[in-house]
């Protein structure tokens, strides 16, 4: 992909006020501005503190189980007859997705700030589970906001959160999905800002969240880079990851931004198809605007009202996207495509049958696109796919579609 920006400069973003080119920034209620300043200052200090780094690394190693493997999916690669597909196994992390990398980091900050209460928003429930998990471990009160529609389709994760001691609040407003959960969590934070740490689950929200969450997730890309070099003797030719808010994708992409020859492909949720308007693909079909604290691509109508999204996967069902992706798109450093519900479901089944790995429906979007890309590449090329989570949570959704009651 040709790009006119200096890649080192691109990698050094955001600027001091949280901007990635024209995107990002801090569009928040005045009541939260002080807390965001405080968080940004603490985060910058801690991220440079060797002791904090050591504690973060220790937790990632012994609690999360990192490094996660990079697995050569030989049988799938052979079937497709093109590039060698390597899977970054974030599904093998404790709690079953990449989300925990971030909640470990933010929980450490909450502990340093002495906040007794954490809140989170969740779509698929993976971030809610990861937040409830770290809260249980640190003895913090945890409240998770979840759209009422998602509470229904991710019942397993709702029960997991309850077992972990969290309170799950179904959100009835708006479209009853992830964006409304985020609104409600923000409202809680404005009200309880003195004693509460808000653990945002993706690279969205006001500065410093998009940067902070990215930094915590970059362990994915750093490991993948080393593992790929060790296993194949070279860097991957292309990276593929699904994009909801964009945290697993940016975690994989960011350490490779400076490697101009590594293609980066983000996969949005195409829902019933981009042409139907029923999807969750703001980078493919939206336009820039301001929501949830930052400027980025949004799904909105002509009058700037946010419109309803659709995806079979709750974790991708979001009308916005992290601001860094918006800038990676505009600069041409990364490409963004969409995969429809049906294609994702096919990929879910295929990876399960061919490799014995059941991906989350979110991750299945990335797999589906890799299935399209690989045959157009040569067998000596490497296609590295982020398998952001495992599919246990989606078994009910898939069974429903199959007409089976489990």
């Amino acid at each position: 992909m040709p790009t006119t920006v200096d890649l080192n400069e691109l990698m050094a973003l955001p600027d001091a006020t949280g901007h990635f080119g024209p995107y990002g920034g801090r569009f928040a209620s005045e009541t939260l501005m002080g807390a965001l300043d405080e968080l940004a200052a603490l985060y910058e200090k801690m991220w440079r503190d060797p002791e904090f780094q050591a504690e973060f690394d220790r937790d990632l190693a012994h609690y999360v189980g990192r490094p996660s493997p990079l697995y050569h999916a030989e049988r799938l690669s052979r079937e497709l007859g093109g590039a060698q597909i390597y899977l970054k196994r974030e599904d093998l992390n404790h709690t079953g997705a990449h989300k925990v990398n971030n909640t470990i980091g933010q929980a450490l900050l909450a502990k340093f700030m002495g906040k007794p209460r954490v809140i989170a928003e969740t779509g698929a429930g993976q971030h809610g589970v990861a937040s409830a998990t770290v809260a249980a471990r640190l003895g913090l009160e945890c409240v998770v906001y979840m759209g009422a529609e998602d509470v229904r389709r991710q019942a397993l994760n709702v029960y997991r959160m309850k077992l972990l001691g969290a309170t799950v609040v179904p959100v009835q407003s708006g479209t009853r999905t992830l964006k409304d959960a985020l609104n409600e969590a923000m409202r809680d934070w404005v009200t309880n800002v003195d004693n509460t740490f808000y653990i945002i689950g993706t690279v969205a929200g006001p500065h410093p969240y998009p940067k902070m969450v990215r930094d915590f997730q970059c362990v994915i890309g750093r490991e993948a880079r080393q593992q790929c070099l060790a296993q194949t003797g070279k860097l991957p030719d292309a990276l593929v990851a699904c994009v909801g808010g964009g945290s697993n994708a940016i975690g994989l992409f960011h350490p490779f931004i400076g490697d101009a020859d590594v293609r980066m492909v983000g996969v949005e949720a195409g829902g019933y198809g981009l042409e139907t308007g029923q999807h969750a693909a703001p980078l493919c079909k939206g336009r820039p605007g301001v929501l949830h604290g930052n400027r980025t691509y949004l799904m909105e109508d002509d009058a700037g009202q946010i419109i309803g999204t659709h995806s079979v996967s709750a974790g991708l069902d979001y009308p916005g996207v992290g601001p860094e992706h918006a800038w990676l798109k505009d600069t041409g450093r990364a490409e963004y495509v969409a995969i429809n519900d049906d294609e994702a479901l096919d990929a879910f089944r295929r990876l399960t049958r061919v490799e014995g790995i059941m991906p989350a429906l979110e991750s299945a979007h990335a797999i589906a696109h890799a299935i399209k890309m690989a045959p157009q590449m040569s067998p000596d090329q490497v296609l590295l796919v982020n398998l952001s989570g495992r599919g246990d949570k989606d078994i009910h959704t898939v069974a429903d579609i199959d007409g089976i009651t489990v």
């Binding site: 404005v190 929501l291 009202q305």
Partner: protein, 268 residues
């Protein structure tokens, strides 16, 4: 002198405080809003804050969230709100109107285009709750070029240094959010409000309006004693919600609440 400025000047001369009701435009249907604005002005409102409905009202409690949903269902968009203001101006050229809402609908139209249309319609000021002054350079320039006031929020959590900066950026009046929370939250503490308003006054000559948590005649009276203006929203919007099926009763019954608040403030 802007319409907002001269409004506060006149109040000062007569020794009264500004009563600033908030209603969401187009709630529950677009037809009620202009009549309601006139009724508010006739029953003692000095400035009208007209809410622009948004799909994701993050800073609002359930009462105004539902108002936004009703107004959006009735098809109300930002340009419709401007049309309501223009219609209001045909019979009222005195009462300042401030649009209150979120940034994205303005982004969608474009700052310059929007501000020009707002000026033509007769809008006096704009308050966007998710636009802090740090991000507002272009926005404020476009406001200024069209003679519109930039109303900013100050919160209980705003540091003194920040308050000073915000007051320098704002014009018309500053809006002190009296409680940590969303609109319609728990009752405010008048002593705390008084000490914050005193601090704000030491930094700016702009009038200080106080909103969030003012529920009745008593709290309106108490806040009017320690500030320059009282902003009341959820109580009125709640009444509108109650009367959603009887739109003809909305203007008179909401006006009655405003008249009661006015009386309380004037006795204070």
């Amino acid at each position: 002198m802007s319409r907002i400025q001269s409004c506060f000047e006149k109040l000062k001369v007569s020794g009264r405080k500004a009563l600033i009701p908030y209603v969401t435009a187009g709630d529950p249907v677009q037809e009620v809003t202009v009549d309601l604005m006139h009724a508010l002005a006739d029953s003692g409102a000095d400035i009208i804050e007209l809410g622009v409905p948004f799909s994701d009202p993050m800073a609002d409690g359930p009462v105004i969230q539902l108002a936004c949903e009703r107004a959006l269902r009735a098809g109300t968009r930002l340009l419709d709100v401007l049309a309501m203001v223009a219609e209001f101006r045909q019979r009222n050229t005195d009462t300042p109107v401030v649009l209150m809402g979120y940034l994205n609908p303005v982004e969608a139209i474009g700052y310059r285009t929007f501000m020009e249309k707002a000026r033509e319609a007769g809008v006096d000021g704009v308050l966007t709750v998710d636009l802090p002054p740090e991000e507002a350079d272009e926005f404020c320039a476009a406001l200024r070029d069209n003679g519109l006031d930039a109303i900013f929020l100050l919160a209980p959590t705003t540091s003194d240094a920040r308050m000073k900066q915000i007051c320098e950026r704002g014009s018309g009046y500053v809006y002190y959010v009296s409680v940590k929370g969303v609109t319609g939250s728990a009752a405010l503490n008048v002593d705390e409000v008084e000490s914050r308003v005193t601090a704000i006054r030491s930094m700016t000559n702009l009038p200080v309006g106080v909103g969030f948590g003012i529920k009745d005649r008593a709290s309106a009276a108490a806040v009017s004693r320690v500030s320059d203006g009282v902003i009341v929203g959820s109580v009125l919007v709640n009444k509108i919600a109650e009367l959603a099926d009887h739109p003809e009763r909305i203007a008179p019954e909401v006006a009655a609440i405003v008249a009661d608040l006015r009386a309380g403030m004037d006795d204070a």
